[in-house]
């Protein structure tokens, strides 16, 4: 169908010519082909038939020769076939199929000829026709007669036929072209005329053009109709032009009016939408709904948020005042209704807290506000208001109150217990001193006055007693200092930390004249607090450093600081035995010791005292170490801004 498609845009003249050519060409070519094929098959069958008859006759002539075994005679008979030029071979075969006598056309290779007989009949073998015919005599079969004929004659005739057909085809084609050119104009000329006019009209929009009418055939009618149509178009164009002018004017006016209207309305709508959106958002955020009670109908309407607050679906609400009131908790219902009515009657603003029970059984606390809207004569016509779910706030308030109460009770208990404990430990420590002093005194008297009456062993025992009483005295002193720390009031003043550290170190090193020390003291920022207490802090930390660096030569004690935005950190570092970090939290407990008294003597109160002092000044303490690699103890002070340093603020996390 590509032919049909490529033809679609060609002129009608070309289409007509192509159609005529194709159809006529196909018809002539078809007839010629059928004619040539018919000729070929007919002459072939004719030849086959003729050869069959010939085989019959010659075969019959040869029966006697075959039956009386006279091959020479048979050959003579066969030689008569020489007259038939197309016969290549003729043969007589005995009943057993043996070749009895044969004829071969001059110049033909006998070996190429088939030797044995085929079944009776005619076959085409390559370009040759083979005929095998039975030979009969006296009613019985005595042998077979065979013929082979070439088809040279036939082929020659075929070519002549094909040539004729081609000539006929060419002749017909030329005749068709000539005739279609002469006669096609009859059809195409008016069409072309019409097409030309249409083209001009389309291009120039000139509807006054008329096409010349040809004959009275369909084309003539078509052209007449076309001309009519042009006249009508002209008339309509004129009418349309005047109508359009009128219409345009009216449309313009109306458009102007509409534009202003639309613009106004759009502005108003937009403002309204924005307000609505903001209101919904605000209600959502505040969990606050709005409602309106129209007094004349006793109907209530409200915003979406109210449904959420009530835990209702919109279709579950009746819309009457009774529904609104009945949503309230039974205990609050009467009061709520009264509040509504009172506010309306007295024209006062409504403010009421009440409870509701949601359909799922949960109780919510609501805060309702409202205001009566009056008409011109001052009578209330409707009440508008808001509704807010304040359950969480109420719950939180109640929880805080309960917590506060509990906390106050605990504080009182704690203060009493603390006071009691401190009083107790002070009196115990104080009262322990008296018996200890007499044990010490009497032991010394025994050593001084009765040493000659006691042997060596006895004297050693007495020494142990006096040593232990001295240790116990120290312990009591420490405990007293520790407990005093809880009660003593703080004296807040500026402290020269560097001077304090230096002084404490030089005092302490004198107790160990046999050891070598190296002090690395960095400049320290001054602190604020009770100087006596911080003196105690340095005493405890530096003596610790001296104690645990026993055996180091020299024992290095480094004291430094780091100022950070929120606090100032001081530290005391030694190069002693250190401790395992997993026990670091135990360091600052009372009587907590990481080393045995045999290795390092001590009461186990020192670091607890340090912690207590630092914490009372609003700082914190901690330690870092690695076993065998020394330890560092840190304490901090909040930046010294006036009273800050002296105010106890409790333990930092």
């Amino acid at each position: 169908m590509t032919t049909a498609r490529s033809l679609r845009d060609k002129p009608i003249r070309a289409k007509l010519r192509a159609i005529v050519l194709i159809i006529s060409g196909l018809a002539v070519a078809g007839s010629c082909t059928v004619f040539v094929a018919y000729q070929w098959f007919t002459s072939r069958n004719e030849l086959a038939h003729r050869l069959g008859v010939m085989a019959d006759i010659v075969g019959d002539q040869s029966t006697a020769a075959l039956e009386f075994d006279q091959p020479t005679q048979a050959a003579i008979i066969l030689r008569a076939l020489k007259a038939e030029r197309q016969i290549l071979f003729a043969g007589i075969y005995s009943r057993e199929g043996r070749l009895f006598a044969s004829y071969v056309r001059e110049g033909v290779d006998p070996i190429a000829i088939r030797a044995g007989p085929d079944p009776d009949g005619q076959t085409f073998d390559g370009g040759d026709l083979l005929v095998f015919h039975p030979m009969r005599s006296g009613g019985e079969r005595i042998g077979t007669f065979g013929l082979r004929s070439d088809l040279a004659d036939l082929r020659e005739r075929l070519w002549i036929n094909i040539g004729t057909a081609v000539l006929v085809l060419l002749g017909a084609g030329m005749a068709i072209l000539y005739l279609s050119a002469r006669l096609g104009g009859l059809v195409t000329e008016p069409v072309l005329r019409l097409a030309g006019a249409v083209q001009v009209i389309t291009k120039q929009r000139d509807y006054s053009i008329r096409v010349e009418r040809g004959g009275q055939d369909e084309m003539g009618h078509l052209i007449e109709g076309f001309n009519d149509m042009l006249s009508q178009i002209q008339a309509r164009d004129a009418a349309l032009a005047s109508a359009r002018d009128d219409l345009e004017k009216r449309v313009e006016e109306r458009t102007r009016e509409l534009q202003t209207e639309v613009a106004e309305r759009r502005l108003a709508e937009k403002a309204l939408q924005e307000k609505d959106i903001r209101l919904t958002e605000a209600q959502e955020i505040a969990r606050m709904g709005s409602w309106e009670w129209v007094l004349s109908t006793s109907k209530i309407s409200w915003s979406d948020e109210v449904y959420l607050i009530f835990g209702l679906l919109p279709q579950k609400f009746g819309g009457g005042l009774a529904d609104f009131v009945n949503a309230a908790h039974p205990d609050d219902r009467v009061a709520f209704k009264e509040a509504l009515e009172t506010s309306c009657r007295n024209r006062e603003p409504l403010t009421v807290d009440y409870r509701i029970i949601r359909p799922d059984g949960s109780v919510r606390y609501l805060h309702a506000r409202g205001k009566a809207i009056l008409d011109d004569s001052g009578r209330p016509v409707r009440v508008v208001g808001t509704l807010q779910d304040v359950t969480e706030r109420k719950d939180a308030d109640r929880a805080i109150q309960a917590l506060n109460l509990e906390l106050q009770g605990r504080m009182a208990e704690l203060a009493a217990a603390n006071k009691e404990l401190e009083g107790f430990s002070y009196s115990v420590s104080h009262d322990l001193r008296a018996p200890l002093r007499s044990i010490d005194g009497y032991s010394r008297m025994l050593i001084e006055d009765y040493s000659d009456r006691v042997d060596g062993e006895g004297r050693r025992y007495l020494k142990v007693i006096t040593d232990n009483t001295r240790k116990m005295g120290q312990l009591i002193d420490d405990l007293l200092a520790f407990s005093r720390m809880g009660r003593a009031s703080l004296e807040a003043s500026s402290i020269d930390m560097e001077g304090l550290a230096r002084q404490v170190f030089s005092e302490l090193r004198e107790q160990h004249p046999d050891r070598t020390f190296e002090l690395r003291l960095d400049p320290l920022p001054s602190g604020r607090g009770d100087p006596a207490m911080f003196r105690q802090v340095f005493i405890n930390l530096i003596s610790n450093a001296i104690k645990y660096s026993k055996g180091r030569n020299p024992a290095i004690i480094a004291i430094g600081s780091r100022v950070e935005p929120t606090e100032t950190i001081y530290y005391v570092r030694d190069n002693g035995v250190g401790f395992e970090m997993q026990y670091a939290h135990k360091l600052f407990g009372v009587f907590q010791r990481l080393h045995s008294p045999q290795d390092f003597e001590g009461t186990g109160v020192g670091l607890a005292l340090v912690q207590r002092i630092v914490q009372r000044h609003g700082g914190r303490v901690w330690a870092e170490s690695k076993v065998g690699d020394g330890a560092t103890f840190y304490f901090t002070q909040a930046p010294s801004k006036g009273a800050n340093g002296g105010t106890p603020t409790g333990t930092r996390p």
Binding site: Q61, F68, P71, Q73
Partner: protein, 177 residues
């Protein structure tokens, strides 16, 4: 004597399990007797009925043995079967359709032909000079190949029509020549 023949027109009829190429002389000759019947037309009155057998007579000593019977068994020509009749001596010859005169009777040929006279009997001989003596057909063997002689005059005299096809393959011989 063995006869070499490429013609197998009657070889299937020969019952002997012989080589198909070399048939004995009398098998060939028996076949020829049968074949003659095909190429010969007897006068209409020589058969009583439409299926009256064609009678082959043999005068003197029979050289065929059983071969002739075997070849002719169940054979018909134009619906006529075959019958065989043997005559001890020429004087005893009766009317038949084909009379074979063996070589042994060569001294009695004139007597035999005289006995037949103008009966419509196709005479078949096998001795040189049989046709010249007035015999109608003669089967000769030359260089192991069969050769036929036909004396058309003799046949015409006896009102026997010989097919031209047979004449074409035979040597034409005239009486007395």
């Amino acid at each position: 004597m063995a006869l070499c023949t490429p013609c197998g027109a009657f070889s299937t009829a020969a019952a002997e399990p012989q080589d198909s190429q070399t048939l004995s002389e009398y098998v060939v000759k028996a076949g020829f007797l049968f074949n003659f019947a095909k190429y010969v037309d007897w006068p209409a009155d020589s058969f009583e009925k439409a299926d009256t057998p064609i009678t082959i007579g043999i005068v003197g000593a029979d050289p065929f043995g059983e071969d002739l019977e075997k070849i002719l068994k169940n054979k018909t020509i134009k619906n006529r079967p075959f019958a065989i009749q043997r005559f001890r001596e020429p004087a005893g010859i009766q009317r038949c359709h084909i009379l074979f005169v063996p070589r042994s009777e060569k001294d009695h040929i004139p007597e035999i032909l005289k006995r037949i006279d103008s009966w419509p009997v196709l005479t078949v001989g096998e001795e040189e000079g049989f046709s010249r003596s007035g015999g109608m057909t003669n089967i000769l063997i030359e260089k192991e190949k069969p050769r036929l002689e036909v004396n058309p005059d003799a046949a015409e005299k006896a009102k026997i029509a010989i097919d031209s096809k047979l004449l074409k393959v035979a040597t034409i011989v005239r009486t007395g020549k």
